[in-house]
Symmetry: C2
Subunit: 127 residues, 2 copies
DNA sequence: GTTCTTTTACGAATAATATCGTATTTTGCT
DNA sequence: AGCAAAATACGATATTATTCGTAAAAGAAC
């Protein structure tokens, strides 16, 4: 079994991944357009970043057409898992519960969402 | 009112803060000893990092004694809040619930902890 | 097929982090 | 006082991440 080692995306790379996770595929131009809404950066900067991500294996691309189309290779779930894990360790002294309490306490959730959490909670309690 | 602007700790700085949050105060030597358990680094590297953190205002220190004693200035809570916020935005598409579900799902919690979460959940539902 | 536009490739500059070597300072001990 | 041990100060280097300018390539439009 080939265990592919986890590559930690940098902050800028995460921003790009976020867009790709949302859209599934996108050209550099599209990613850059989206990025520009929240941050200042030249087009070639975005391009270079995405090329580096491609080298690292964070994203794949279809370059059979003129305008290359990129897609995420690392899954959102896996990335979430890694970052949450790290966060729990260094920021919450190992207690996932503390993280949950903070997340719930500081950011409002809808009744439906609360219900969803309740469901999961019920399941966990049963065991 | 003087709003002190948030200083984002780097990754290494977070590791040091974690130790200071745990112990409240510590010398460079003590922090370095603790750090050495999980990572390779020279003593002066740790020293330098802590000096920089002092300049930035992330930590304070008592240098009236030979061996300077450091303490955290930024609170764990505030730092948690910032990082969670960022995480929810870029990694969970703005949904704190998704973060909660992930955290709960991937990392086991004790019955007591589950109960604690239940309490908070009940409170939130009431509103 | 020449020109214009868009895109990619790529090297290089800059900036931010992290690491470490060496000199100096401080203090305890004899 | 003189010496050794431990600590700090600080500049230099290394490493990683980000930014961007310029040239070459690929089509599209005429």
């Amino acid at each position: 079994m080939v265990t592919t080692k986890y590559i930690k995306p940098t902050e800028s790379e995460l921003e790009i991944l976020r867009i790709l996770w949302e859209r599934n595929t996108a050209s550099v131009r599209e990613v850059h357009e989206e990025l520009s809404k929240t941050k200042e950066a030249g087009y070639t900067t975005t391009l270079k970043l995405m090329q580096i991500m491609h080298e690292k294996g964070l994203v794949g691309r279809d370059d059979s057409v003129k305008t290359h189309i990129y897609h995420p290779v690392v899954s959102r779930e896996k990335t979430q898992k890694h970052l949450i894990g790290k966060m729990i360790t260094t920021l919450f002294g190992g207690s996932s519960t503390e993280l949950v309490l903070h997340a719930l306490g500081n950011h409002k959730a809808s009744p439906a969402e609360l219900e969803e959490i309740q469901q999961l909670l019920n399941n966990l309690k049963k065991q």
